[in-house]
């Protein structure tokens, strides 16, 4: 059911962990299945210089978290905001139909973490 790429990212997830004093942090939950993803961003001059995640969820949830962090690392905020769950799914060589919703979690986590960063900036 899962592509080789999904399994590879699931087994060796990149960027797992936390960032202390992260510039942006957000935790999102998947109402459909109860899975939870937390994303930490370190941002310098509008560029995501470091990113970490923690995920409680299925293989697809972990794999999409992992590849999403890879995709945004080194990108500007604007670029990162453009990453859709479709792009994440494609980067993983696809997901089974009943697992497409899992990739939404990754998109949401990125957006929410950036929003958190922007809010913090405003309130500085």
């Amino acid at each position: 059911m899962y592509s080789e790429k999904v399994l590879e990212h699931f087994m060796n997830p990149r960027n797992v962990g936390e960032i202390e004093n992260a510039d942006g942090v957000a935790q999102v939950g998947n109402p459909k299945c109860g899975d939870v993803m937390k994303m930490y961003l370190k941002i310098e001059n509008g560029v995501i210089v470091d990113v970490k995640f923690k995920t409680l969820g299925c293989g697809a949830a972990i794999a999409t978290s992992s590849i999403a962090t890879e995709m945004i690392k080194g990108k500007t905020i604007e670029e990162a905001l453009k990453i859709t769950n479709k792009a994440v799914t494609e980067a993983l060589d696809g997901l089974p139909p009943n697992k497409l919703h899992c990739s939404v979690l990754a998109e949401e986590a990125i957006k929410a973490a950036i929003e958190d960063y922007l809010n913090k900036q405003k309130n500085k």
């Binding site: 087994m11 459909k32 409680l56 299925c58 293989g59 697809a60």
Partner: protein, 388 residues
């Protein structure tokens, strides 16, 4: 990573036993006759089916004419429920079942609800066993059918069918039991249980997939479900899956002969497993009654862990197991059975079902007890909710 697969998912399916396949092979090769035909090739096939029927009857203490072959547990359940509900709708339209039945029972009942029947889903106790008194209380004037499984497929709990059948019989209500998980694990005697209908499926006891049987007590009012030719004494049409039926017959014969030995071996392994997991891992619970469960079933919930991930990591270690996690099911709902025994969805999400079989050894259990704690830790470390 081990090379060999350690198979811990015998409730999902079992491999076909060598002796079973050997008896099937002639019917997949030279003995290809259609059992409905009159010449020798057909008569041989017919004889093989009748021998299988005799073996099933013997294993269940049923009469030979009370055994009908089907395409599996699902067909047996569909037939039992829809067939009796429709044949007895002049008497009433109320059906009683439990909240922990297999979907092969629940979904036909949902369909019957749509076409005018009413179904009461009796909740089970926190140990996963239904209280016969609650069944009794659910009975109405117009109750025509009670369906309660003999053993649960997820948590392995064994239900008090004999007591429930007695209650049903006092009120002349038809009683069906889904014994798909029980056959080959615990002794079954349909006369002693006092039931009218019993479903079974060969691939759960080292027989082939796609063949099952329905026991129908003589005199039970039931409509045919598959209609067509005159096979199975006009009650179940379709050219017989001869090889499959032969396999079912042989498999149930062997299962019944080895029952005690098999059960006591597995129970010992199961208890070692349960004790090991409960002592080695934190934030874990055993689902289902500690003792009144199938000898081969252990079902745990680990907090801060998601079942599908757990299975995938076990798979990389060569271990095949199962989970009631929403993420493994197409439906995205965690197991209705785990919810029915009172688990929170998050906890149900982190469940692991280990079901043992005759090839499993103490070393298999040791190996699982070695890798499982590591895997659980690894996943918990990735979880945003877990604080070590």
């Amino acid at each position: 990573m081990k090379e060999k697969i350690i198979y811990f998912d015998h409730a999902a399916t079992t491999p076909i036993k060598k002796e079973v396949l050997e008896e099937m092979i002639p019917y997949l090769t030279e003995q290809y006759g259609n059992p409905s035909t009159i010449y020798k090739l057909g008569r041989e096939a017919k004889k093989a089916i009748e021998l299988a029927r005799e073996r099933v009857a013997k294993a269940l203490n049923a009469d030979i004419e009370e055994i009908y072959f089907t395409s599996g547990g699902t067909e047996s359940d569909n037939w039992a429920l829809k067939g009796t509900a429709l044949a007895n709708r002049d008497k009433g339209r109320h059906i009683i079942t439990t909240t922990i039945e297999h979907h092969a029972v629940l979904n036909p009942l949902k369909y019957l609800e749509k076409i005018g029947f009413e179904v009461t889903y009796v909740p089970v106790e926190p140990n996963g066993i239904v209280d016969p008194n609650k069944i009794k209380e659910a009975i109405r004037e117009d109750t025509i059918l009670i369906s309660v499984m003999l053993a649960n497929n997820e948590i392995g709990t064994i239900q008090p069918i004999k007591e429930i059948a007695k209650i049903a019989k006092e009120r002349e209500i038809i009683i069906h039991t889904d014994a798909v998980q029980a056959v080959g694990q615990i002794p079954i005697n349909v006369k002693d249980l006092g039931i009218d209908l019993l479903s079974l499926s060969a691939h759960k006891f080292y027989g082939p997939k796609g063949v099952g049987a329905l026991y129908i007590r003589k005199g039970t009012r039931i409509h045919p479900f598959l209609q067509g030719g005159a096979q199975e004494r006009n009650k179940r049409a379709g050219t017989e899956n001869v090889a499959g039926i032969v396999g079912l017959g042989k498999a149930i014969e062997i299962a019944n002969k080895n029952l005690n030995e098999y059960a006591s071996k597995l129970q010992k392994l199961r208890d070692k497993l349960i004790d090991g997991v409960l002592s080695k891992i934190d934030y874990v619970r055993l689902n289902g009654d500690r003792y009144q469960r199938l000898p081969n079933n252990a079902n745990f919930s680990f907090e801060f862990v998601e079942g599908e991930s757990l299975l995938l990591l076990l798979d990389t270690k060569g271990i095949a197991a199962s989970s009631g996690s929403a993420c493994t099911s197409g439906s995205l709902e965690p197991s209705h059975v785990l919810l029915a025994i009172g688990l929170e969805p998050e906890v149900a999400h982190g469940s692991l079902r280990i079901t043992l079989g005759e090839d499993n050894t103490e070393e298999d259990i040791d190996y699982l007890l070695e890798v499982l704690p590591e895997i659980v830790s690894k996943l918990r470390e990735m979880s945003p909710l877990y604080e070590s």
